[in-house]
């Protein structure tokens, strides 16, 4: 095994560990932190299934953002949906045999990659041109956008200009499952692409990327509007009653 292959193998083991452990830690932390009061933003659904429907609209359509700002919504949604398609397309590197739906999604994944970069560029432009958004942006907000755009661009370049040996790449990742990494091609673009993806995985649990799990735990969105019908009380508040 070459030095390069070994470095990247360890990098991805490490990145996967940080991502999994970090996100699990945060999800457990969110889940275990009580929500002592009923605070859904109303009008809110009065049933559990209504809440599932509300959350689905938020996750799939970004409903609240749509109401808030059309430009951010269109760029944000294009980026996220593009990223979703790209992720599906990339699953072929991680499974053998490749599932039929993943086979079918392959061509759309390419459009997804383009859409993703376009969406990101739009979001980044807002950070420069809208004074309010410029004011609230810190260096990390720019860096995360730069990171994602760089991932998208290196990927698209490999697709359209400097091809790499994707069969070897697949062997490398499949090999990681059995702790038997196969040689990774040494193309600079590929190495850059993979390095940036690993970096993204590592910063995920320590950055605002936590908005992804956070959304599911947002009390103003995931609570049922039924405070008069059912008494809502958490253990620490219950203890006050026993004093």
């Amino acid at each position: 095994m070459s030095f390069l292959t070994m470095v990247y193998a360890y990098l991805f083991y490490f990145a996967a560990l940080v991502l999994l452990a970090g996100v699990t830690f945060k999800v457990v932390q969110y889940a275990r932190t009580p929500a002592p009061l009923k605070i859904p933003t109303t009008p809110a659904p009065t049933t559990r299934s209504g809440v599932v429907f509300r959350m689905t609209r938020e996750i799939v359509l970004f409903e609240s953002l749509f109401r808030g700002n059309k430009w951010t919504w269109i760029f944000g949604w294009i980026f996220h949906f593009g990223l979703f398609l790209v992720t599906l397309r990339h699953l072929r590197y991680f499974m053998e045999p490749v599932w039929l739906p993943i086979e079918l999604v392959q061509p759309f994944g390419i459009y997804g990659g383009i859409a993703m970069v376009v969406g990101l560029a739009g979001l980044w432009a807002r950070r420069f041109f809208v004074d309010r958004v410029r004011y609230i942006s810190s260096p990390s907000d720019h860096l995360i956008l730069a990171l994602l755009i760089a991932i998208g661009c290196t990927g698209l370049l490999m697709k359209f200009v400097f091809h790499t040996d994707v069969v070897a790449v697949k062997s490398f990742f499949i090999g990681l499952y059995s702790f038997d990494p196969q040689p990774l091609p040494g193309d600079p673009l590929l190495l850059l692409h993979l390095f940036l993806v690993a970096a993204l995985m590592i910063i995920f649990p320590y950055s605002k990327l936590l908005h992804a799990p956070g959304l599911f735990f947002s009390p103003s969105r995931n609570q049922v509007d039924n405070p008069r019908e059912r008494r809502h009380i958490v253990p620490w508040a219950k203890r006050l009653e026993q004093e």
Binding site: I39, S138, P227
Partner: protein
């Protein structure tokens, strides 16, 4: 027009988003609570020496107790969706009044002390040490949030700045930096029973006066009882309803509705206040203690139902929190929700055909309706989501001939706060209140010009007080704001009422 020591914003026809102009409101600070107002609430009297350590401890404690705080501080991606939604930003141009700007005052401290990225690379992620300057910013800008939740409507993660403002105020109280207005008032609730410090005998006098007035006007003996054991309904209403205009006209209306419904009801001198300022300062303990008075009053007076008068934040605490804070209510009549809003009560009677109205009594007015923020975005009325918008409007349509809504972007769940909510209804914040009212007054001004609207009805004591005070700054009249039940009171035809029209009298006799 009222005299102002600051520039009153000019109204425009369209809502324009102002350019970011930093620090325009950095000077705005409410009076700090003296030690005597801190002690009854269980807070230290003045800023402690080791305040930073204590504040961070408190922050850690709250992060463990409130999922909202933890998730909201982590989740913001700085997308900017909220940046043009806060009435205080729109009225003051100060970027720390953008919801995210306000949140970031706490988020930067959170990141510095509670996240790995902020500990290692503070500059990169916008993390900052919790210095005295930051604390001063907190005191200033967390008292420029009316906890109206408009930002949370438009946030893709539902981040509610109110939750963060409440936590900030709780942290500041815990190190001895309290706000005089809120904390003094909560003290009054504990010692006297209501925000205004009106003692029981004064309330009794006022209510007797109301009975006489209504009798003189209508010839019907409508009762306004207090502390009557065994009444069916306990009415809990903001203390402003006892004397201030236009609030008291609403209280007169509630009495007439109860009279027509044929139910017995009572106020309580022990719980003579619907508002719960414990929420404003984010203190669960104080909020609970204030709420418990209502339980005690309900038990003592042996009532079967609880109805709340017109009050916005109070209705939030009542509707959303009362069951949590002071429940369970298993000793009350299970056929009715606990608590009920007076609008639900009136609306149900209208549905049952039990109320008669003469709409022409309100023909001197062309109405619009102001959705109070906490009723709109933090509560409900009736059985279906959005009832809090439809029920009050249905009552207005039943009692008035002329009604027009304001621009859709400024009503229902997108309503603008009056500018005085969340513990800011104090004269030491007048500049903020006037500027914060701008988006609402602008929308009102537009329907005045386009539809000839003359009056705006509201169902919140804070809104009513705020507009009474603030409308004159914009060249409007203070009495353009009316209580919703004032309209009911004007139009309702009481059974056996002296009616001027002879024919009607003949009908009654027959």
């Amino acid at each position: 027009m009222a005299k102002a020591t600051f520039e009153v914003p000019e109204l425009s026809q369209y809502l324009d988003v102002p350019p970011v102009t930093p620090e325009t409101m950095a000077h705005s600070k409410p009076f700090v609570a003296k030690p005597e107002f801190q002690a009854p609430l269980g807070f230290p009297g003045e800023l402690m020496d080791d305040w930073q350590e204590k504040a961070l401890d408190k922050m850690g404690e709250l992060l463990g107790k409130y999922r909202s705080l933890r998730v909201y501080l982590d989740s913001c991606v700085k997308c900017g969706s909220c940046t043009d939604k806060c009435h205080y930003y729109l009225g003051t141009k100060d970027p720390k009044n953008m919801p995210v700007g306000r949140q970031d005052l706490m988020r930067k401290v959170y990141r510095r002390y509670f996240t790995l990225a902020g500990k290692l690379f503070p500059k990169l992620v916008g993390a900052e040490d919790f210095t005295k300057d930051v604390l001063d910013d907190w005191y200033s800008y967390y008292h420029q949030c009316s906890q109206c939740r408009r930002c949370s409507v438009f946030c893709p993660y539902g981040i509610d700045t109110a939750e963060i403002s409440m936590a900030a105020r709780e942290i500041m109280d815990s190190i001895g930096v309290g706000q005089k207005y809120c904390n003094e008032i909560i003290g009054k609730v504990y010692t006297i029973g209501n925000n205004l410090g009106l003692p029981g005998p004064a309330l009794k006098d006022t209510l007797e006066g109301l009975e006489e007035d209504v009798f003189d006007e209508t010839g019907v003996a409508v009762r306004y009882p207090i502390d009557e054991v065994g009444a069916e309904i306990l009415l809990v209403t903001p203390s402003a309803d006892f004397f201030a205009e236009p609030h008291v006209d609403g209280l007169i209306g509630y009495g007439k509705v109860f009279h027509e419904a044929g139910v017995t009801w009572t106020l309580s001198s022990h719980a003579s206040e619907a508002a719960n300022f414990g929420m404003f300062i984010g203190s669960y303990d104080n909020m609970r203690r204030v709420a418990q008075r209502i339980r005690e009053a309900a038990i003592e007076l042996k009532v079967k139902r609880i109805v709340f008068g017109e009050c916005g934040h109070a209705w939030r605490v009542a509707y959303s929190f009362l069951n949590t804070l002071a429940g369970p209510w298993d000793f009350l009549d299970p056929r009715y929700p606990v608590p009920q809003h007076i609008c639900e009560f009136t609306y149900n009677l209208i549905q049952e055909g039990k109320l008669t109205f003469d709409k022409s009594e309100n023909d001197d007015k062309v109405l619009t309706y102001h959705d109070s923020c906490n009723v709109a975005r933090a509560s409900r009325m009736g059985n279906t989501p959005g009832g809090q918008f439809e029920i009050p409007r249905a009552i207005i349509r039943e009692t008035c001939n002329h009604f027009y809504d304001m621009d859709e972007d400024t009503i229902r769940d997108r309503t603008f706060c009056c500018g005085g909510g969340g513990g800011l209804l104090t004269d030491d914040l007048m500049e903020l209140r006037v500027k914060g009212a701008k988006p609402r007054v602008e929308a009102l001004n537009n329907v005045m010009l386009e539809k000839g609207v003359t009056h705006m009805a509201a169902i919140c004591a804070i809104c009513k007080s705020q507009f009474t005070k603030v409308l004159p700054y914009y060249g409007m009249e203070m009495d353009q704001i009316v209580s919703l039940h004032q309209l009911v009171s004007n139009a309702i035809v009481l059974t056996g009422q002296d009616v001027e029209d002879d024919e009607d009298e003949a009908d009654e006799a027959a």
